[in-house]
Symmetry: C2
Subunit: 319 residues, 2 copies
């Protein structure tokens, strides 16, 4: 680990999956002399204390960030402005302030105006996660072999950007730097639209029983119990994604609205074309498409992004 | 294992993922004195022979099924009628003929008219699979703790249905019996629509680079390389599903058209409602929906259908 990755005091604000994973990972790599923590929710604070997640827990956010040389806002993106307002008078000169949100343009808009001049705002986004939430969900390896994207605003301090990049690399991530707008378009297609679609199909499936009964089509109702029972046919993968944190995802869709709606429009067009192919018994169109999409999967596997899962019984790895 | 699960000669027609897994599983459980095999594709036959998948491999389908007391058509559902025609004059009296297709109404329509009177047609569908194809993809544990659905046509022989059920139970499956039409509606939502949507979003993502360049919006093109690189944000789960066998899935959509189009219509309505909520900045609607969908995931986990994957490095199990 390079020296630049080390901090005297890292303050983590928001102790959910990402915040708690950061605490574990920073501790495991010895990146901080002291890790302070804060969460707005007293229940989360109590649970985090019960597992000794941080070296010091603070009821007041200002106390958590005082004296920190790295402050990480690991809250839903919708809370970033409130965090910026609450910390601004407690930041030491030279402090690096970053976040982990899945939307970057909105975070810069929310936080930058409140940052003192001698503080370095370098927004970031580790492209990593699970469907689990809360301080108990974190683990030190979450960021290993994953990409962390930094989106420094124009004129950001180069040394601060490099120091934060070194921190992420020390956690096992590959660091990429891009502008916030581009980040938000890339993530709209690789993350936000997939989540939106997963939430939707789980809703469609869950509502079948109720809706069909309301229409008195109870001669052939597909029950929620059946949907769950036979989910191994493909549906279960969507339920995993659709179990992600509701607050985080509400904020993502509201704050990356334009890019999400653009990608959703493209998706809807493609879906309509497939619907027409099915309606017209156009097997060739279906076959050609299903063949092309295989190549993308191959790319994902070759890029080492297919996940680190394997069957427990057979040893048949997904990679 | 019960005696009724045992057969003298099991003929497996079609040696892809499911057919080869059946061969491994039946052999592992000692369910057949002899397993014969056939595939229409000489390359698949050669690859299956290279791994000693079956006891006897046959170039002619009639030779594979001659003398068999259980014949399993493990082909794409679109091939079932051709299989029925090709085997009908070679079946011994009392033989059970089944299949493994993801559509059941169309299989009965395709096969039943060709079956001799003294042969028992009992269509089936193991709700299990991976995104891998071909004879090398099979493994004996594929059906363990999964549901296998049998859809005997009206008037089917009870003893034959029970014998086939015992066979699937011996492979580790839970057996459910339902009528073909209901099966096709249940699978339309739990399997067929999820695959259709996964194929679509992978197409949308793959076409971004080309389409945006064609529109000269190359100032901010999201490249296919980026889509692959940052796929860990959710997209990668869709690429896995969208890597499934193209022929199998073409046939499923063409042969379960009505139920798939019905579920697709419901999904599109729900997606439009979510799109409106995003456009209108209606965070409450988004939050409520994202909270409801979590319950479904809990049901999938409690039903033991969440998959048998686990992280290789952290031991953090998905179950």
């Amino acid at each position: 680990m390079s020296d630049t990755a080390q901090f005297q005091r890292i303050a983590i604000v928001g102790l959910g999956l990402i915040g708690s994973s950061l605490a574990h990972a920073a501790r495991a790599q010895g990146l901080a002399t002291h890790i302070s923590g804060h969460d707005a929710d007293p229940d989360i604070r109590a649970r985090a204390e019960a597992i000794d997640l941080v070296d010091s827990m603070h009821v007041e956010i200002g106390d958590a960030v005082s004296g920190a040389d790295l402050v990480i806002a690991a809250t839903p993106v919708g809370a970033c402005e409130a965090v910026a307002r609450a910390i601004k008078d407690h930041l030491a000169p030279g402090t690096i302030v970053t976040d982990v949100g899945s939307v970057k343009g909105a975070v810069i808009t929310a936080m930058a105006p409140h940052m003192p001049e001698n503080v370095h705002l370098v927004p970031g986004h580790p492209v990593a996660g699970t469907e689990h939430s809360g301080p108990e969900a974190g683990f030190a390896e979450l960021f290993r072999d994953r990409f962390s994207i930094l989106t420094p605003p124009p004129g950001a301090n180069d040394a601060a950007v490099e120091r934060l990049a070194a921190f992420w690399r020390a956690l096992g991530s590959d660091v990429e730097i891009m502008d916030a707008e581009h980040h938000d378009r890339v993530l709209a297609i690789t993350s936000h639209l997939p989540h939106l679609i997963a939430y939707t199909i789980v809703e469609t499936a869950a509502d079948l029983e109720t809706e069909l009964e309301a229409q008195s089509r109870d001669d052939d109702v597909v029950t929620t119990r059946e949907v769950i029972k036979y989910s191994a046919g493909g549906f279960r993968d969507f339920t995993r994604i659709a179990a992600s944190d509701p607050t985080m995802w509400r904020d993502v869709f509201l704050l990356n609205k334009d890019a999400v709606l653009e990608m959703l429009g493209r998706f809807t067009e493609d879906l309509t074309a497939l619907q027409d192919a099915i309606r017209d018994d156009d097997g060739d169109t279906l076959f050609d498409l299903f063949t092309r999409t295989r190549d993308i999967r191959r790319g994902v596997i070759e890029a080492g992004q297919a996940g680190r899962f394997q069957y427990t019984e057979t040893g048949d790895s997904e990679d």
